[in-house]
């Protein structure tokens, strides 16, 4: 069955404490090539049947209204896997 992937990231201007802690851990392990980490979310929506334009539009709407909170997050991708 087809899958729609939705990716959500915390807004760039907001502090991402989980990402910051991970970046700190990388630095402590000596991985100096990476200066920052930001952690977001990936949703995989399994679709019953075909991915029509209507289904994709519904996924986009859900991504913006439920899967993310637009006050603190951005939807960065809604795509067919």
């Amino acid at each position: 069955m087809p899958t729609i992937v939705v990716e959500v990231m915390p807004k760039p201007e907001l502090l991402d404490p989980a990402g910051k802690a991970t970046a700190g851990a990388l630095a402590k392990q000596g991985h100096s090539a990476f200066s920052a980490v930001r952690i977001g979310k990936r949703f995989e929506l399994t679709v019953e049947g075909e991915v029509t334009d209507a289904v994709l539009a519904e996924a986009q709407r859900l991504a913006e209204e439920f899967l993310s909170n637009q006050v603190i997050e951005d939807v960065v991708a809604v795509k067919v896997a």
């Binding site: 404490p17 910051k20 802690a21 909170n69 006050v71 603190i72």
Partner: protein, 234 residues
């Protein structure tokens, strides 16, 4: 007849029983409400209690905000029924868009639990009318995701319209913008805050005060105010 104040239990609510007890101590009759019902059982006011509804999955309060009873709660709130959201309840109010902005992980990254001093900025809401504007109170605070954020425009509007209900004093425990600890809506019937008034309602079980250990009962005024607000509406 005493004011009947409903306390909604969601999967993962923790402080629902404490809130019921606080309602009783404040002079109201607590009514247990269930997240999966579409029935407010004729209550006069509603408390959304603290805890970790749905394990904070998706976002704190996000799934609870879409639970069956919330359609009735949102409808009642829009018609003026007093609604108080405490901690996770505040997160549910924000996710329900009954209050603006969002709550994110504490800026220092750690869970915080402390007796927190607050200033009452708006004493004309259904849940704060027993205070005087500028009162300083102490109630417990315990959260991991209590950092209040909103756009500059929203923050300016909240300040301009007097919708900041409580502000943190001494310490900003979670990085909340403009030290905002709690908000109210335009009607003054909906109030949300991260600290826990229900944990400061009975001598012996509240925050430490200069006079005596665990004697703080500043939270009782929230529930007494709501009882009065309900009686005034009838």
């Amino acid at each position: 007849m005493p004011a009947r104040i409903g306390v909604v239990t969601f999967p993962g609510s923790l402080d629902d029983r404490d809130a019921q007890r606080a309602v009783r101590l404040g002079g109201g009759e607590p009514v247990a409400l269930w997240h999966g019902d579409h029935d407010l059982q004729g209550v006069d006011a509603i408390v959304l209690p603290g805890g970790f509804s749905y394990g904070d999955y998706l976002r704190c309060g996000a799934i609870a905000a879409h639970s069956p009873i919330m359609s009735e709660v949102i409808d009642a709130a829009n018609k003026g029924m007093p609604v108080l959201g405490i901690c996770n309840g505040f997160q549910i109010l924000v996710e329900s868009q009954l209050l603006p902005g969002g709550l994110i992980r504490n800026d220092h990254g750690d869970f915080v639990c402390r007796d927190q001093r607050l200033r009452v900025e708006n004493a004309s809401t259904a849940w704060t009318s027993g205070f005087t504007e500028g009162d300083e109170i102490v109630i417990p605070l315990k959260n991991g995701e209590g950092g209040y954020i909103a756009t500059e425009e929203t923050l300016d509007r909240l300040e301009g319209e007097g919708l900041v209900a409580f502000r943190y004093l001494d310490v900003n425990p979670n990085g909340s913008l403009r030290d905002i600890a709690g908000l109210t809506n335009e009607l003054g019937n909906v109030v949300g805050l991260m600290p826990h008034p229900e944990h400061a309602t009975e001598p012996g079980f509240g925050p430490d005060m200069p006079e005596a250990m665990r004697s703080g009962v500043d939270g009782l005024t929230f529930f007494q105010s709501a009882v009065e607000a309900v009686l005034a509406r009838v």
